[in-house]
Amino acid sequence: MPVMSKLKAISGSAEIVGVAESDRLGKLPNRSALQLHAEAADNALADAGIPMSDVDGFLTAGYSTYDVAEYLGIEPRFTDSTIVGGSSFVIHIAHAMAAIQAGYCEVALITHGQSGRSDRARAAMNRGLPAAQYEAPYGILGPPVSYSMAARRYMHEYGEDRTRQALAEIAVSTRKWANMNEMAYMHDETMSFDDYHNSRWISWPFHLFDCCLVTDAGAAIVVTTPERAKNARKGGVKVLGVGEGHDHSMISQMQDLTLPFGRHTGPQALEMAGITHSDLDLTMIYDSFTYTVLVTLESLGFCGPGEGPDFVADQRTAPGGDFPLNTNGGGLSYTHPGMYGIFTVIEAVRQLRGETGERQIKNRNLAMAHGTGGNLSSTGTVILSRD
């Protein structure tokens, strides 16, 4: 089990000094995924005021680190290709902190790049995997199918109508945030409750507007020591708490479809940071689907099992509500290239720095960023602090 005394001892011992997206997000058929990695890396290092040549730790997911590091022309002395779906990049923050603390490196670069929309060379599934034998032949393929089966179970346990209303609340409130973010794919498109309810079925009980976008995007984060953070262009945002893990891969192997692994990583990250839910000014939750948000709020302990629909009622998570959630517009309405987790951290850092313009939250001391990967399989949680 994680040793809390040791975790507490390294709380705040690494800082995020650079965050960035690729130059553009959305439909980018003339950019390869590796180009998106490189653009974002260059932008994040510029944000930090640190040259690429100073990078001595490298982390990525989807590609092996040696493929992307070669492309960038760097020779890392700490390397981590941990790939557990979209939560990977949140987990990389924790690994970067541990590596910095242990002396493996001083400047860790985390990159992401995916052409979810325009990929010209999509990889086939490994046919030896259990999923290829036991789920794919039945058309249980891809996240919309597996997450919608989990959502149907939630409806059975906690009520179909109130669950449906909660999913609509999340879709609509997230769109409102996207309407305030110029980088958001849906910046210019509003969504009413009727729009939500009338959108076509993808995998019942999911409407189209329960599902995240499919975009091309890159992103990168620079993590370093508190000493180097002092001289960074914009200073540092401290990493106070972390948690990571997973309890299955295939949706059919998930023990409780209404209780993902955030039940462990959320409480761990909060305890390590020495704070409670009510101390947080901002919560960023990976929204692959509306249901992911609903069930994640519960698993993280913001409310009890089955209480999510009451928690998100009346547009509480929208601009002007008292629980700002996914203020970039989320995977639902801002961008979702396939593994979105890194973008939860980027928005949290920008909000804590006070550089998000129209959508800026007032109090900006503490934020949680939480990623989910696979089929509600893995989670990574980080707690970030301005001071």
């Binding site: 599934m125 046919r127 030896g128 259990p130 290829a132 034998q133 036991y134 789920e135 794919a136 032949p137 039945y138 058309g139 249980i140 393929l141 891809g142 919309p144 199918v145 919608s148 089966m149 989990a150 149907r152 179970r153 059975h156 076509r200 079925w201 993808i202 995998s203 019942w204 009980p205 999911f206 295939m250 949706i251 059919s252 192997q253 479809l257």
Partner: protein, 137 residues
């Protein structure tokens, strides 16, 4: 007869007997001789107590719907002609849950519910592979 266009399982060393049984229209599961629990999917080590003292048992093929979805947008071109189709996780009376399709029912939400009893049926897709699916009992 058009060619079968959906993903076809490739039996692995630990699953050959499972697919061999399915070809005979039987559903077999692994079961742990130490903790006495049946489990899915087939592997030599028990995922519940981690014992390697495991065996095979024949399933009754009866169970209930644990959850389901009705897939309208096919995630793979092979399923295009089937959409909308029903995916499900069935909880077998033997204990384990198994991913599958519910067949023989009009794929509408009002025709299905969690907890409904189901029974295994077999669909031969190639000479080597027969898929266990389920129908309402």
């Amino acid at each position: 007869m058009t060619e079968y266009a959906k993903p076809i399982p490739v039996p692995q060393p630990e699953s050959e007997r499972y697919w061999e049984a399915a070809r005979r229209e039987e559903l077999w599961l692994r079961s742990c001789l130490d903790c006495k629990q049946a489990y899915f999917y087939p592997r030599d080590i028990c995922p519940n107590c981690h014992s390697r003292n495991t065996d095979w048992i024949r399933s009754s093929g009866k169970g209930t719907i644990y959850t389901f979805a009705i897939v309208h947008r096919a995630p793979h071109p092979g399923f295009g002609p089937d959409a909308p189709y029903i995916t499900a996780i069935v909880e077998l009376d033997d204990g384990p849950r198994i991913p599958t399709n519910i067949v023989g029912v009009d794929p509408k939400p009002e025709n299905l519910d969690i907890g409904m009893p189901v029974q295994v049926v077999f669909e031969k897709i190639t000479d080597e592979i027969t898929l266990p699916k389920f129908k309402l009992a």
